[in-house]
Amino acid sequence: MDSTTEKIIPMQGYKLHVIETDKYKTNTFVWKMKAPLTKEDVTKRALLPQVLQSSTSKYPTTTALRSYLDELYGATLFIDLAKKGEYHIISFTLEIANEKFLSDTTPLLKRGFELLSEVLTKPNVLGNAFDQDTVNKEKRTLKQRIQSVYDDKMRYSNVRLLQEMCKDEPYALQVNGEAEDVEAITAETLFDYYNKAFSEDELDLYVIGDVKGDEVKSLADDLLKFEERTPKKIVNSEQQIKDKVQEIKEEQDVKQGKLNIGYRTNIIYGDSDYFALQLFNGIFGGFSHSKLFINVREKASLAYYVSSRLESHKGLMMVMSGIDLKNYDQAVGIIRDQLEAMKKGDFTDQELVQTKAVIRNQILETIDTSRGLTEILYHNVVAGKEIKLEQWITDMEKTTKEEIIAVANKIKLDTIYFLTGTEAVK
């Protein structure tokens, strides 16, 4: 685990995180921008990185920008949006070959850094507006991206579960924004928002690869400077406690029913029982040795996929499965029984030991990739904590059965959502 040492260097307006490792043949930059998740901004935040990555002042067309990326040995540049608790995170990732594996000696790290800086700070702008044509095209793409969720029933039913479960909370907002808010955005209002985001968001840059911290810092000094700011902190909104479990059935022309169940864990990253929650999830539904997989799939033959996962910063757990339309009651029954079993401590020491081994393995595997490592380290930025990776593993391994039972008893079933076929509803 020596490759995970993260140097954090305060820069002007952002933090630089450098991870020096020689295990990759490429170097990776990840630029992260974090702001509270709000209805007002979420759609603009989804559109903004698309516009920024499609052209810049020096490379004013997508063809020009993409040709330059190809020229840099196929450097990849892509954007990604995420919800972490009630924050909305924009990420730009640029990955570029390390020239020591090439016969060419172009200083690719520097070129890559310059290009990232160009994309972030020198957009294709006319006066006080982004290039009109680019904004129009990217609005169309964003609308299509939002609309395409409907066509992927697994994603769709997860989105619908969150909309129903977190109805009056920001977390119900879609990560790509809301379709009805796209049209009103203009090249001017988006440019205003760009200035606002770069002056108010919490900004972090991760650089991972066979790099020298000092060299990266001096490049960063030259290439990226922003106003100093105090990032906005939010307190998770009041959870809407429901009197009884909410059950939603939606009918569509599908062959397989999608069952998505949402729970409130009442535990978030940084809480003392967070690692016990990770273990709970592992025994309950996170893996192929978990109770859900064994009971719903292997014993009852009801599903091909069935699993649970955590949302660490909002305090949610989601179960998802694809089942035959007629098996709804049986599947829901088995899943509810597994939570009851967990609450009663009905799991063996072997299940506990097994789950610890698998989670330890999962953490170590995740940090083998530059992306996985960045995501794990970024938890600390989101939660405002300083939990070292070693501590993840030792705290998880210390967890006792009693602590897991206590966690199980904090977890509350909130909403059961079922996307069902037209023929099954009688």
Binding site: Q256, V358, R360
Partner: protein, 429 residues
């Protein structure tokens, strides 16, 4: 054990062919926590007509049986192998493709034990009528899941358009009807024919000591009694050059239409260096024609015919091959027409500049470096290449040799009306 050096990449590969015919490759990766291993048989969904081991006549087996076998191999008399892997801190999985079935694990501790588990479970089948019946429910749900997935339906719809007889047109998982005919005896028949070590390849990549692991695998294999295996006889019906259908439109419960065009490959008898060159040339051609920096991409994007789902790909294996281009679109007919025109313009001899070709090669070379960061990529792709008598580490030198002439002759030869087809998914009325 032989050692092969790749100086430019700073990698070393170790290889040994064991006495029972099993090929073992080990690639040490310093600095990584994880070891990843795949144990793969050259047996996939297309191998449905063959002479079973110890018999004389060809048999035709139900669609989806290779994939079914993959599921069932995890179950043993005393329980599930997933359980054992997770007790040993590993994560295990498997997949079936047209031409391969691969079993794999990754772990950051107990690697020797996990490797032993992987090799032993694959070499020790246990099929019973009861567990076979139970699996039909699970795989039935897997099939239904894909039935509702428009991208999968589009992809397979296009392959079905392209191929008249070749079993590549059969869905890898089969259908609920076809898997109903699978029995434990049929599974054993397939297993005994295709899971002989001489038809398999073991690849290990991670922070490992190659000599020690090679010894372990050799010892393990020497304890098992494998008889020499005659060459496997597989039969494929003759496939005409022409496509089966020129167009197919699927109506589904979607809001956005999808359009994919396809070209059926020529020269599908290639293997080795010839196949590698052909495949890479086609990939470079597609990059130049449809990559994000291409004129065509820019035009299609500006016209609102494509979005970020747009992609292209070329696959070629022994006996079949296809290029595919497309994605989500507001106007599936117009997109099909435009893509077709672009292809046929290239056939007529649309020229690229040397500078563009050079850039396309650089892009591919960088992409290869990025890919070899991934132990999964190395193990899976190396195996695929080896089964086609190619070497993954020849990619860069082969790319460097591609010329403008290669691209021109590829375009003029492969692109043809009779091998072109379109598949679309549109919203149900």
């Amino acid at each position: 054990m032989e050692k092969i050096n790749f100086d430019q990449l700073q990698e070393e590969l170790y290889h040994e062919k064991l006495s029972n015919g099993l090929n073992v490759y080990i690639l040490p990766k310093k600095g990584f926590n994880k070891t990843f291993a795949t144990f793969t048989t050259k047996y996939g969904s297309i191998d449905n007509n063959f002479v079973p081991f110890g018999k004389e006549d060809y048999v035709k087996v139900p669609d989806g049986i290779a994939h079914f076998l993959e599921h069932k191999l995890f179950e043993k008399e005393d329980g599930d192998v997933f359980q054992q892997f997770s007790r040993q801190g590993a994560s295990a999985n498997a997949f079936t493709s047209f031409t391969r079935t691969a079993y794999l694990f990754s772990s950051t501790s107990d690697v020797e034990k996990n490797l032993e588990t992987l090799v032993d479970f694959v070499q020790d089948p246990y099929f019973s009528e009861k567990t076979v019946e139970k699996e039909k429910g699970i795989i039935g749900q897997e099939i239904t899941m894909y039935d509702d997935n428009p991208d999968w339906r589009l992809y397979f719809g296009l392959i079905q358009n392209l191929y008249q007889n070749h079993p590549v047109k059969i869905d890898i998982a089969g259908t609920i009807e076809s898997i109903s005919h699978i029995t434990k005896d049929l599974l054993y028949e397939c297993y005994n024919t295709f899971y002989h070590p001489s038809n398999m390849l073991l690849f290990i990549v991670g922070p490992v000591d190659p000599a020690k692991f090679m010894d372990q695998v050799r010892d393990n294999q020497e304890k098992k009694d494998y008889k020499e295996m005659p060459e496997i006889q597989r039969k494929f019906e003759d496939e005409p050059i022409q496509t089966a259908e020129q167009k197919q439109v699927l109506e589904m419960n979607v809001q956005t239409s999808k359009c994919l065009i396809g070209m059926k490959a020529l020269h599908v008898d290639q293997s080795g260096a010839e196949l590698l060159k052909n495949e890479l040339t086609m990939n470079v051609l597609l990059d130049l024609l449809f990559g994000k920096s291409s004129k065509n991409y820019n035009q299609l994007y500006n016209e609102g015919l494509i979005d970020e789902t747009f992609s292209y790909d070329y696959t070629q294996e022994q006996g079949f091959g296809f290029a595919m281009v497309g994605g989500d679109t507001e106007n599936p007919d117009k997109l099909a027409d435009q893509l077709k025109n672009m292809l046929f313009d290239a056939k007529k001899g649309t020229t690229f500049t040397e500078e563009q070709l050079d850039r396309a090669k650089k892009k591919k070379i960088g992409g290869f470096l990025r890919a070899v960061n991934s132990p999964e990529y190395i193990a899976n792709q190396f195996t695929r290449y080896a089964f086609n008598d190619m070497n993954l580490f020849d990619v860069v030198p082969t790319l460097e040799k591609i010329t403008m002439e290669d691209l021109k002759s590829m375009a003029s030869e492969v692109i043809s009306e009779e091998r072109f087809s379109v598949c679309q998914v549109i919203p149900k009325k």
